[in-house]
């Protein structure tokens, strides 16, 4: 006990030292005055003291959970109770569906706007989930494909007056093409190199959009993009917002359906095999390049679709919307939700996008918390909020070799 206190105390002092210049001193370089913010030092000290205790407790819990414990939690865990018990599952789904459909009728335009954004991130997260979660390819330039979609609608609309519905497939196809063009040469790279190349690609796209004024109108962007039309109806602003909400909702439902079906398909299982062990996967006769390329292209397509929707929603695009930060947010959604888990990604997208909107005080700290929780998740719960429910057999040690307890995890 005393030992633990001592450890925490040392950590607290260390962090107070560490954060001293940046947290405490604030220099005004114009008037040459210093503001000393000593209260921050106290917050850091107290925070680090308790933080280190929690850290060690979590660490202890993680390393000391026995096999039996895990098994019991698998059987009795809340999440399994929900997924296994069809009655509860269907009720929950019904409530969620009813809520999402009724939502526009019980709230104002502002709420609908936020919810549309959140649903767009659900789709983006699920799209990236194919690449990162299922196929295990870390893509840090996902936003590039989003930009391709958005700009294809913006430019085609600006120059040729093409409508939303005409561009939607074009945007998706263009993004897919970019995915294949980028994917073809880089997919033979090892995981971490791939991450950096995609990051470089994302930045190149953004910088080109920013500087190639003749093509993309530079940093000032393109404004006055048409909102989508719906069956030739004339809609006012709030009606068209509602329509857009339903459109994105439809997209989300289709995406969930597609990803769910893909997961257990032949190609989906090839992705999982590739993620787990590339060499073994090749030895099983799976075409590595083709499998990776499909994942990349499919992920890019969804980003392209959402890009078109984004341009139609904001009626304005400029390169500032497509920074690395955006890629990082989508990645955070996938990582926090649980790589490969559809339910997890949906929940994470809703939490990460809605929470900062409703808790204004919290929105300043948003990126700080994103970054911090990415680290914490990797250290303590690499499987994410809701781990991917994978079919596998559990063998009982007691009658090993005898009858198998055949239960899907």
């Amino acid at each position: 006990m005393l030992n633990e206190l001592k450890k925490s105390l040392i950590t607290a002092v260390w962090f107070m030292f560490l954060t001293f210049p940046i947290m405490v001193i604030k220099v005004n370089t114009v008037y040459n005055t210093i503001v000393w913010r000593w209260h921050n030092l106290i917050y850091i000290g107290v925070g680090a003291f308790f933080g280190s205790m929690i850290w060690r407790w979590l660490h202890y819990k993680k390393t000391h959970i026995s096999e039996r414990n895990i098994r019991e939690r698998l059987k009795n865990g809340l999440q399994n109770a929900i997924v296994d018990n069809k009655k509860v599952l269907y009720t929950l789904i019904a409530v969620a569906v009813a809520f999402t459909f009724a939502f526009p009728h019980m709230s104002n335009a502002y709420q609908i706007n936020i919810m549309t954004t959140a649903l767009m991130y659900v789709v983006l997260g699920l799209g990236l989930n194919i690449v990162v979660g299922l196929a295990g390819l870390l893509d840090l330039g996902y936003v590039a494909f989003y930009a391709v979609g958005a700009y294809s609608y913006a430019l085609l609309n600006h120059h040729f007056g093409l409508g939303f519905w005409a561009v939607l497939p074009i945007g998706g196809a263009l993004a897919m093409m970019f995915g294949i063009i980028l994917g073809f040469p880089v997919l033979r790279l090892r995981g971490d190199y791939l991450a950096i190349v995609t990051l470089g690609f994302g930045e190149i796209i953004r910088l080109v959009l920013e500087n190639w004024n003749a093509f993309s109108f530079g940093p000032s962007g393109i404004s006055g993009i048409d909102r989508p039309s719906f069956f030739g109806l004339t809609l006012n602003l709030s009606q068209s917002m509602t329509a857009l909400y339903y459109l994105v909702l439809g997209f989300a439902v289709i995406t969930i359906f597609c990803v769910n079906r893909l997961q257990n398909s032949r190609i989906g299982r090839a992705w999982l095999a590739l993620r787990e062990d590339e060499i073994a996967c090749q030895a099983m006769g799976i075409d590595k390049t083709k499998t990776k390329l499909t994942a990349f292209a499919l992920g890019a397509t969804w980003a392209g679709f959402m890009g078109v929707v984004f341009a139609a929603k904001t009626t304005f695009v400029n390169p500032a919307s497509f920074t690395f930060l955006e890629s990082a947010i989508i990645l955070a959604i996938v990582v926090l939700g649980g790589m490969g888990s559809i339910l997890g990604v949906i929940l994470a997208a809703l939490i990460l996008i809605l929470l900062p909107e409703y808790l204004r005080a919290f929105s300043e700290l948003r990126m700080l918390i994103f970054g911090g929780s990415m680290v914490l998740m990797m250290v303590f719960r690499p499987q994410g909020l809701i781990s991917n429910v994978r079919r596998k057999y559990l063998f009982d040690k007691m009658n090993f070799g005898g009858e198998k307890t055949n239960e899907a995890k």
């Binding site: 210049p21 940046i22 220099v27 700080l368």
Partner: protein, 300 residues
């Protein structure tokens, strides 16, 4: 000719700074095969610490060279402390995790540190005091080379020579090389691998801090985001030369510096960063092992 020389020297200056940062990347990668995505943030924190210490000292009435030295020392101490803590929190628990986990953790750390500085300090560009004095003897050639450039080139060269000596001839350097070759074997012959890894982070972070303070006093302004671009470019340099190889990192950094400098000088200055990223993509596609790196077959 003057213009060419000017570009050549500014490329050399940039290259030296990239080299200082790239060394940290390459050393860490050589030892634990991790792309330390947050390394650029260490460099940024070094620059911020130097700025804060220098401003406080200026207000307290110190002058000239003493500010440069004290700010430099503070930057090195703090950057290494951050590097050490970061390794302990974000990477050490993930030593045996799948390869992507530490990389994601590193990205998280990078975002965290950027926003930590953003919230605790400011999002604006802060003017960085010109800590390097103007030399009299450079007056006649001042249109080609500034004294800051001279100081940066010379001090980077000295630092790199010292680093080479440290790694080649000291006990700790030997331990580092042994750990890079084979961690298990190193542990068997009595090397404290954890300590060596910590030391690698400390050395890499100090180099980044020195790079940070040198470049900041040359360019004259910093903000919380400088680490990101510098980090990517230094990583490009490390990959260009062959990641894991120390002379490779320096060579790659110099090539990158010159590429950028000549491309902006003769082609277009709008696309400075695009050239660097395009170089990175091309290198990884055509020669993933880099110029001096060895491509090794993967054993199963």
């Amino acid at each position: 000719m003057d213009y060419f020389l000017q570009l050549f020297l500014s490329g050399l200056t940039k290259g030296s700074i990239y080299a200082l940062i790239a060394l940290g990347y390459t050393m860490v990668y050589g030892i634990i095969q991790l792309i330390n995505f947050a390394h650029g943030e260490i460099y940024m924190i070094g620059a911020f610490t130097a700025l804060i210490v220098a401003s406080v000292l200026t207000i307290l009435g110190f002058s000239g060279l003493s500010i440069l030295i004290l700010a430099g020392i503070a930057a090195v101490i703090y950057s290494s402390a951050y590097g050490y803590t970061m390794e302990k929190i974000a990477y050490r628990p993930l030593r045996n995790a799948p390869r992507l986990s530490p990389l994601i953790s590193a990205i998280g750390m990078s975002i965290f540190l950027q926003n930590y500085v953003l919230l605790a300090q400011t999002s604006d560009f802060l003017p960085f005091p010109a800590l390097i004095p103007e030399f009299e003897f450079l007056k006649p050639v001042s249109h080609i080379m500034s004294s800051a450039e001279l100081v940066i080139i010379l001090s980077s060269a000295v630092i790199m020579v010292l680093l080479t000596f440290f790694i080649k001839f000291t006990r700790m350097g030997k331990a580092m090389r042994a750990t890079a070759q084979d961690k298990k074997m190193a542990r068997l012959v009595g090397i404290d691998v954890d300590k060596v890894i910590s030391l690698t982070f400390i050395v890499g972070s100090s180099l980044a801090a020195l790079g940070g303070i040198l470049i900041a006093s040359h360019i004259g302004q910093i903000n919380f985001y400088i680490g990101f671009i510098a980090g990517i470019k230094a990583f490009t340099a490390a990959v260009l030369g062959g990641i894991g190889s120390i002379p490779g990192a320096v060579l790659g950094a110099l090539i990158l510096g010159w590429t950028e400098s000549f491309a902006t000088g003769y082609v277009s200055s709008d696309y400075e960063d695009v050239f660097a990223f395009a170089l990175l993509v091309l290198i990884l596609i055509f020669r993933p092992a880099g110029i001096l790196g060895k491509s090794s077959a993967q054993k199963v």
